[in-house]
Amino acid sequence: MDKRTPVMEGKNITVRFGDGCSYCRSHPELEKGRCPVCHTIWGVRDVSFQLYPGEILGIVGESGSGKSTLLKTLYFDQAATSGGAYLSLYQDGQKNILEASSQQKRYLRNHLMGMVYQNPMLGLRMKLSSGSNVAEKLIAAGNRNAGSMIDRSTELLEHVEIPTERMRDQPRVFSGGMQQRVQISKAIANNPPILLLDEVTTGLDLSVQAKVLDLIRSIQEELGIAMMIVSHDLAVIRMMSDRTMVMLGGRVVEEGLTDQILEDPLHEYTQTLVSSLL
């Protein structure tokens, strides 16, 4: 594959809560994306991006900036109002996956994309053992051989340092860091080319955060998965991402190589963000 063909491309994605009015349609820069006249919220507004094979794209912004909404839209947890997303490995990059049928979306979620949520309740079934949580992805991909799935789940959980004897335990009895690691092993169970990570270390202790980030880094290097990492924490973005998009009020206000953005931020908001980091 050409290194310069993006594995995923987003085109003019907009997620709007409300109908909009003549005022907000003509004013793209709304504070917090909220229209003062009709109260419509522009969660994501006209966002385009490319995700290249094997890279880590960071998305940073304050809470309410639309970064998590964008990720959830790409994973179909949130419906887009307009715009499109295209995967080079799916229907030759011709199909707007945001308009896919429920069956197609399921295929995309099980084979081509993995997602790790901030809240493990969204990514894991708390009433099931961690082994079954991982196996769910294998079953979704058509595996009906229990023995091979037990082997593969064991292997995946070991990969994220969940010992085999905890395989029958439900993740609700695990610590936050362990829950995130189970989510990660589930998300990569079918070797997807794309992994989406939404604030995965938020709320974890610093030492645990570092371990989870190391794990993500090693998986990325080992498997060459392209990743989109959403975080409000610029330190996480600095440590992890090759390129970075800065979001504010639903829009992308700045993007570029992470180093460049950190050294020479152009947008006023990015400057504030960077100065707070130093």
Binding site: P36, V37, M121, K127, R172
Partner: protein, 361 residues
């Protein structure tokens, strides 16, 4: 638009109460509380259960007083109970000493002591019996006399009217989940605020006093798919228990103070997380009320599970089912809220004005 302040409250209330009396006295026949007590047994049972007061005569009186509203009757009994002093605490009553009138198990065909259907509507076809509109009391009494004679001829039942518990069989086999025995003094939610998390004694007391419909609806939601406490009825028994109190004076001994009829259920379910074997949910309610007792056993069990289900949320289950509390709070919505609503309106108007102002910029 302005609001007219409502005045003349006292006159309105007096007139309303007078009107209630007019409604209560409609028709030509008086309501005899004895009839209510003896022929509306299940209604009496329900009121006593939700009131948490075993007093058939007073329950009948309460129903007479409030046109048959269970909600109001429970209210009257609870309020009456507040006027009574509690002089004694009964001795612990054991369900296995129950004088059984009905006893079934859905888990085993054969149970020691046998199954006994007793009086139940379960196998009655629910067809309106129009002939009852012309039922003659005299004929009914004749039938009763004949029935009693037949029963007498059938002789003394050879079986004892008590029986060991079905659960004991499973316990002997070691199939029941092991639980810590709790010998602490039971909590009484009528005397103290419900502690949270609630001890089991408080859970059971709250559930048995809860509104029948609330308990049944929650249990139904649980077993239909929103929870994980679908039971097999190990045993359901209905009958009377003897209530005794300790003789208060020198010398000790016990006083027999009367009997109460209860329905008791032990439901067999899964073990709680980390447990092994069969888990048990317990239900026990005043009077003849299978559904409430079973539903109670479902919720008792559901509350031991830590899963993401409404019925496993202790505060959700325990704080919303009390007849007085729920009906009191819902009915309070009818009270004037003129002041609070006025301030809400004011806030909304201000906000609308300021936004219009901004939009014009």
């Amino acid at each position: 638009m302005g609001y007219v302040a409502v005045t003349g409250g006292q006159d309105a209330i007096d007139a309303s109460i007078e009107l209630l009396r007019e409604y209560r006295s409609g028709g030509k026949l008086p309501v005899d509380t004895e009839i209510l007590r003896d022929r509306m047994k299940l209604l009496i049972d329900r009121v006593m259960s939700e009131a948490g007061l075993y007093a058939p005569d007073y329950a009948a009186l309460a129903l007479k007083q409030c046109e048959g509203s269970t909600e109001e009757a429970v209210f009257l009994l609870r309020a009456y109970r507040s006027t009574l002093s509690r002089n004694y605490t009964s001795r612990t009553v054991h369900g296995d000493e129950m004088h059984i009138r009905r006893r079934i198990s859905s888990a085993f065909k054969d149970i020691p002591g046998g199954q006994m259907l007793g009086p139940t509507y379960d196998y009655v076809h629910r067809l309106l019996n129009f002939s009852l509109t012309e039922e003659k009391e005299e004929e009914l009494q004749q039938w009763r006399a004949a029935f009693e004679e037949k029963a007498a001829q059938a002789g003394e039942v050879s079986l004892s009217d008590t029986a060991p518990r079905v659960l004991d069989l499973l316990r002997q086999e070691g199939l029941l989940e092991q639980v810590q025995e709790d010998r602490s003094e039971p909590c009484d939610v009528t005397m103290e605020n419900l502690p949270l998390p609630a001890p089991r004694s408080a859970i059971l007391q709250t559930l048995t006093r809860a509104d029948t419909g609330f308990v049944s609806g929650l249990a139904y939601s649980d077993i239909r798919g929103f929870g994980m406490s679908h039971p097999t009825i190990g045993e359901l028994r209905y009958g009377s228990l003897e209530i005794e109190v300790d003789y208060p004076l020198e010398g000790g001994g016990v006083w027999y103070v009367g009997e109460i009829f209860v329905t008791e259920v032990e439901g067999l379910m899964g073990a709680r997380a980390g447990g092994e074997g069969i888990g048990v949910g317990y239900g026990c309610v005043f009077g003849r009320n299978d559904t409430k007792a079973i539903a109670m056993s479902v919720l008792d069990h559901a509350l031991t599970l830590s899963i993401d289900s409404p019925t496993s949320d202790m505060e959700f289950v325990l704080l919303h089912g009390d007849c007085l509390e729920m009906n009191g709070f819902i009915s309070h919505l009818k009270l004037p809220h003129y002041v609070t609503f006025q301030s809400k309106l004011d806030g909304l108007r201000n906000r609308k004005r300021s936004l219009e102002h901004e939009g014009n910029d």
